[in-house]
């Protein structure tokens, strides 16, 4: 008997990846809470070990897709990568159907300096173009952007996660529009963050809308 090889299944599966301190868990929490506020059923899982600031962090958000908090191989609909190496680390959940949003600004792991000082192999951060190519080899739907620069332009490097959420919601493929999501999101934010975060989110939305108008991802 043959079973389907790749099943997308019901629901929307998003993986947010980055390093500790970039706002991965905050972005995931916001997605989770806002979609619940909008009447959806959401489960979310975190994967981070003992890492404090600077460790690899992944969080899955599954909207209307059952109770399993972990995304199986190839089953992510979206990967939101806040950092190039961490985006590539999420490759196991990527299939040719997955849409990937990838920030191209690296956070250099401290082990690179350790290796360089000991004259070991792999003593540099991987070539970012090579990392982008690795994503392209898995799916043609890859949008790359310097989201850190966008965030700084919007008012704060800390708004990086909001730029990336903007990219995600800007696709129009989630169960609600970017506007509806953002209305729910600002209700959950301290007022002093509204302006910067809104600018950052809008910048992300514009980024995906622009690419969509050009007839596909870069």
């Amino acid at each position: 008997m043959t079973a389907p090889d790749q099943v997308s299944g019901a629901g929307t599966r998003v993986l947010v990846a980055g390093t500790g301190g970039q706002g991965v868990l905050t972005a995931a929490r916001l997605l989770c809470d806002c979609f619940v506020d909008l009447g959806h059923e959401v489960v979310s899982g975190q994967l981070h070990g003992m890492a404090q600031r600077g460790g690899a962090v992944q969080s899955s958000i599954i909207i209307d897709g059952g109770t399993c908090p972990v995304i199986a191989a190839g089953q992510a609909d979206f990967v939101v990568g806040l950092e190039p190496v961490e985006t590539v680390r999420a490759l196991p959940v990527v299939s040719e159907h997955t849409w990937v949003y990838m920030n191209t600004a690296p956070i250099i792991p401290y082990v690179v300096a350790q290796r360089a000082a000991r004259k070991e192999a792999d003593a540099s951060y991987p070539d970012v173009d090579g990392l982008i190519a690795a994503m392209h080899a898995a799916t043609s739907n890859v949008l790359t952007l310097d989201a850190t620069a966008c965030a700084i332009e919007a008012g704060s490097a800390k708004a990086l996660n909001m730029v990336m959420l903007g990219c995600l919601l800007g696709t129009g493929s989630l169960p609600c529009s970017a506007d509806t999501f953002w209305e729910a999101a600002v209700r959950r934010m301290p007022p002093k963050l509204h302006d910067t975060n809104s600018r950052a989110f809008r910048a992300g939305v514009a980024m995906t809308a622009e690419r969509a108008n050009c007839g596909g991802a870069a």
Binding site: A3, G45, Q52, Q114, A117, P126, A134
Partner: protein, 626 residues
């Protein structure tokens, strides 16, 4: 932006439906049952349960404490139960072992108010020195155990467990694992109770004192209690059965969620009957009934083949000779946590379906981001100073906490590690047989947890050890819970919310245990620290050096300011000798385009790299108006 759940979790509105962390769902379950007492010792992945109770204790009128260790947490909570209060205590899997002494006798004595021990498991040892399967406590010590698959299970089970504990007379264990504790799922709130247990201890020594003559009577009562537990569980609703096929699957814990997902993805609901095991002891009649309805069984559970062997025994007793597959047939490993992909592969193998095509994503070699001491951590400086004085040959026994991160190069501060408080006893053992002065590292919270008796033991034996106590005024690794040395006047909090104007004095405790050679230093004061360490090294018998300096991350959170300006590398003076990187392992020092630089955001200005730089290339950054 956070749903720290502080207020949301207190909502008295039964229509509330939220997606919350498993750990928060456990708190909600406790509130719905009218819990009156919560004690805990922090440990990943259980910590958020206690942290949330700490936030809401006052508003919810609950007695709360971070206990000094898990044994004490269990004892105070048990006594509260004997006085009638519904009580709860939380810890990680290892905490249950630490508290094994009281835990082993509590089922004999039996509870007053319902009592639930939450012991969070860590399959794959993600944040622990081992993975262990607490479900064996049901056979080992007659504890009923609840094994949730989702946050909603965790809420329902916690709520149910209190009444169940009172009806059976047994304390119970709730055993969520990392994937339940740290996942969010939809949770449907029930209403909060209008009334709570009346509290007051009624004297009845034969009931509460397990001296041998009473213990033997209690032992017989225990058998009855456990039988009652099994009978009650049969109607608890924690053993749902779905599907209708003759191929059976039994699953427990988060692996049940994975299995349900895989069955739905494969569209095989009509071929497979899925039985969840949500609690132990597994009711025998329920299992017999299931076994009669299927022609084979695949057991899906993480860690030991606990359910698998239970089911095999039941099948034998029922005279049902059908294939029971699982770990002993290599459908699953006995080590580590499962994943939906692993369950998918095993279910396909079981049902003789084609395996998924192996078009695996080709992940290139990527640099790892292992955990490391934070930039500016005062105890990187402590480690560095100790190594300067004691050298590379000395054996360094380390302990559980942030300072375990002294492991490996370049700090080389951990030759040996076992469990909470073991550094001092291990140093004693090494020193006694080798005759060499041995160093023990231990943090403030761990020292009070179980370092005190080990230090007394070393003093009485006059062991040639130097204990370096790394005091950072907080239990940092598990998320900044207060320790006894926290300064609650400066925002550090206190264990039970009792305001004290003075921090606990480790010096007084150490001196009280009979240590003569005692030195207190600020590790950032090089001269004093090196001098103290030299004297501690030259001492005979036990010497203790206490390094006091606050956790920089916590301090910055509380004060919202950076006390020291970041440092920078003068590229003209730096000749890339790499001494700073090789000696310190600070994550703030980076190589960018072949040049050694300091990340301005990460650097906390501890100055240690400037001290080790022989070329004067590192100095404080001149920042305008910062």
């Amino acid at each position: 932006m956070s749903n720290a759940s502080g207020h949301e979790i207190l909502r008295d509105d039964a229509s509330t439906r939220l997606s919350i962390l498993g750990n928060h769902a456990i708190v909600r379950g406790g509130l719905e049952a009218g819990v009156q007492f919560y004690s805990c010792y922090p440990g990943t992945p259980s910590s958020e349960i206690g942290d949330t109770f700490a936030q809401i204790a006052k508003a919810a009128d609950i007695h709360f404490e971070y206990s000094v260790n898990e044994k004490i947490a269990v004892e105070v909570a048990f006594a509260a139960s004997l006085a009638g209060a519904r009580s709860m205590c939380g810890m990680k899997h290892l905490g249950l072992s630490s508290a094994n002494d009281p835990i082993s006798t509590m089922p004999y004595v039996g509870v007053g108010g319902g009592m639930v021990i939450v012991s969070a498991g860590d399959p794959s040892a993600i944040t622990s020195p081992n993975e262990q399967d607490q479900r064996h406590f049901t056979k080992f010590l007659y504890y009923p155990i609840f094994d949730p698959a989702t946050p909603e299970d965790a809420r329902r089970m916690t709520k149910y467990a209190f009444g169940f504990s009172e009806t059976t007379g047994l304390p119970v264990i709730l055993r969520p694992t990392t994937r339940v504790c740290h996942s969010s799922g939809m949770v449907q709130f029930d209403s909060l109770p209008a009334e709570r247990n009346e509290v007051g201890f009624k004297k009845d020594p034969p009931r509460y004192v397990p001296i041998p003559q009473n213990a033997r009577r209690m032992r017989v009562e225990l058998t009855e209690r456990y039988k009652k537990a099994e009978a009650l569980l049969a109607t608890s609703g924690f053993f749902p059965r779905t599907g209708s096929g003759r191929r059976g699957i039994i699953a427990s814990g988060v692996a049940y969620s994975y299995t349900a997902h895989v069955i739905q993805q494969l569209g095989i609901e009509d071929e497979v009957t899925l039985q969840q095991v949500g609690a132990y002891p597994i009711p025998e009649e329920l299992l017999k009934d299931f076994l009669a309805s299927v022609d084979s069984v695949l057991v899906v559970e993480e860690l030991t083949p606990f359910v698998e062997e239970w089911v095999t025994l039941s099948a034998f007793r029922a005279g049902r000779t059908i294939p029971i597959l699982g770990k002993h047939t290599d459908h699953f490993p006995v080590e580590f946590e499962y994943s939906p992909d692993m369950v998918d592969g095993a279910v396909r193998k079981y049902l003789k379906l084609d395996q998924r095509n192996g078009r695996r994503a080709n992940v290139p070699e990527l640099p790892p981001r292992p955990p490391v001491l934070c930039p500016g951590c005062p105890h990187r400086t402590s480690f560095h100073m100790v190594k300067k004085v004691f050298g590379k040959k000395t054996v360094y026994c380390n302990d559980i906490g942030c300072y375990t991160l002294g492991y490996g190069e370049p700090l080389g501060a951990c030759d040996m590690l076992l469990c909470m408080g073991s550094s001092i006893s291990q140093a004693s053992g090494i020193a006694r047989v080798t005759g060499e002065r041995t160093v023990a590292y231990i943090g403030d919270s761990t020292f009070y947890h179980s370092g005190l008796p080990a230090l007394a033991n070393a003093v009485q034996a006059d062991d040639a050890i130097t204990v370096v106590i790394l005091d950072n005024y907080i239990t940092a690794m598990t998320g900044f819970q207060p320790s006894l040395t926290s300064d609650n006047m400066a925002g550090g909090g206190s264990l039970s919310g009792v305001e004290r104007s003075e921090r606990f004095s480790i010096e007084d405790a150490v001196r009280g245990l009979g240590v003569q050679n005692l030195y207190s230093v600020d590790p950032f004061d090089d001269e004093a620290t090196l001098a103290a360490l030299e004297q501690a090294k030259a001492a005979s018998g036990v010497s203790v050096v206490i390094c006091h300096s606050p956790c920089v991350v916590h301090d910055r959170r509380v004060t919202k300011e950076r006390k020291r300006s970041p440092f920078t590398v003068d590229q003209e003076l730096c000749n890339s000798c790499t001494a700073c990187v090789r000696m310190l392992g600070c994550p703030g020092i980076l190589v960018i385009d072949g040049k050694y630089t300091i990340d301005r955001e990460l650097c906390d200005g501890c100055e240690l790299c400037a001290d080790v730089c022989k070329h004067d290339a590192i100095s404080p950054m001149q920042v305008e108006g910062d």
